[in-house]
């Protein structure tokens, strides 16, 4: 568009609002001005802060009331497709799969007048930088990681073992861990208040996790199969699945949450309905989508081996999350 916008004009609808988007805002201002000058009938605006700002925007949405006076919130990072969670009960909170914008979680907790006591990561993330450790450090909360994913980490953490249960607040609202390997060898799900199943990057609304981001697809495909086709099937179908990502807007409900009954996913999700094990193995090890941008570096950051500044972190997280196979 350096040479002008004339070639674009015939393709632009005059009856719709046009938003010009670029990486950091600068070019979109220039192009929006050019469009407005070229055709004053167009309604043109630009995205303030560009994709850089859009990618860092996080919206907390209430999923449900829990037993006692408990509440469950899903934090939707729209520009990146990351989903984080906060479980609140009686003045205490647990945070699960927090993204790196830690202030979103700590200020939300302050606003709700709750103290963050437990911080979990369902696995060592490869597509985005975790905010878990930083939140635990600033609040004094316990930080849990699955030990099988944490063999190389260079900081202290509390092992997130199968069957571990924490109780939130005086009403002892339960958050229980269920070992569910496959996306990574340590991947662990959570059952919250006996009602919600937080699947991390193992099961999404319209896709399943990919087993290759730590470089071991062939080794982990059996674990993924076992988790999706046995462990999850032993659970009650009434559980509501809450994943750690969404890939397409169709996966979101009308209220903006990504949440669906396990029984519905068992019936409808393509990745849960491949009878033939060999066909399943091929789906999750061959023809995989490209790996997330800088995923090896992101893993290093989440292990504490690299400490990039804020701009470098933004750069690493550019692009879609790509944690799924459809």
């Amino acid at each position: 568009m350096l040479d002008g916008v004339e070639s674009l004009l015939p393709q632009l609808p005059a009856d719709k609002e046009i938003v010009v988007v670029c990486a950091k805002e600068g070019s979109s201002i220039l192009v929006a001005e050019m469009l407005s000058e070229a055709n004053t009938a167009l309604s043109v605006s630009y995205l303030e802060g560009g994709m850089k700002a859009w990618s860092s925007y996080v919206e907390p949405i209430k999923v449900a009331d829990l037993s006692g006076d408990g509440e469950l919130y899903q934090f939707v990072r729209l520009g990146k497709g990351c989903l984080s969670y906060m479980v609140i009960s009686d003045g205490e909170a647990a945070v699960i799969d927090a993204v790196r914008f830690t202030e979103v979680f700590t200020s939300f907790a302050a606003q709700k007048n709750v103290k963050i006591k437990h911080v979990f990561d369902t696995h060592l993330h490869a597509d985005h930088i975790s905010g878990g450790r930083a939140i635990a450090q600033s609040t004094g909360a316990t930080y849990y990681l699955p030990p099988k994913d944490a063999e190389e980490v260079v900081f202290d953490y509390t092992p997130l073992e199968d069957g571990l249960t924490v109780q939130i607040g005086a009403s002892k609202l339960e958050v229980g861990a269920l070992y569910s390997p496959g996306h990574t060898i340590g991947s662990t799900s959570f059952i919250v208040d006996g009602t919600f199943l937080l699947t991390g990057d193992i099961l999404f609304i319209d896709s399943i996790g990919r087993p290759d981001l730590a470089g071991l697809a062939e080794d982990w495909v059996g674990d993924l199969r076992e988790t999706l086709y046995r462990r999850y099937r032993e659970l009650t179908e009434e559980l509501i699945v809450l994943p750690a990502h969404f890939m397409i807007m169709d996966e979101l409900n009308e209220d903006g949450t990504a949440a669906k009954r396990l029984g519905d996913l068992l019936a409808e999700n393509h990745g849960l309905n491949i009878k033939d094990e060999e066909q399943f193995r091929q789906l999750v090890t061959e023809h995989l989508p490209p790996q997330p941008h800088a995923y090896k570096q992101i893993r290093q950051v989440n292990m504490g081996k690299m400490t990039p500044d804020s701009d470098e972190q933004t750069e690493m997280e550019i692009g879609p999350n790509r944690c799924a196979v459809r």
Binding site: L2, C22, K24, G26
Partner: protein, 75 residues
Amino acid sequence: MKVDKVIDVKGLACPMPIVRVKKAMDAVASGEVVEILVTDKGALADFPAWANAGGHIILDQTEDAGVFKFFIKKA
């Protein structure tokens, strides 16, 4: 290397470096060499892509203390 024109866009943020460079390139003759000084890291991806699209040739590219230098020959 014989440089016909030097363009200093240090300190400018995207999209101004590429806008200025395009204007300067329009003003030189085919085969002439332009030296560009730029600090915006976006230039590392933008300049080669832009040069490639226009058939210009990047003769050399260096970095010194955060200042990137491009030597581009006009198509």
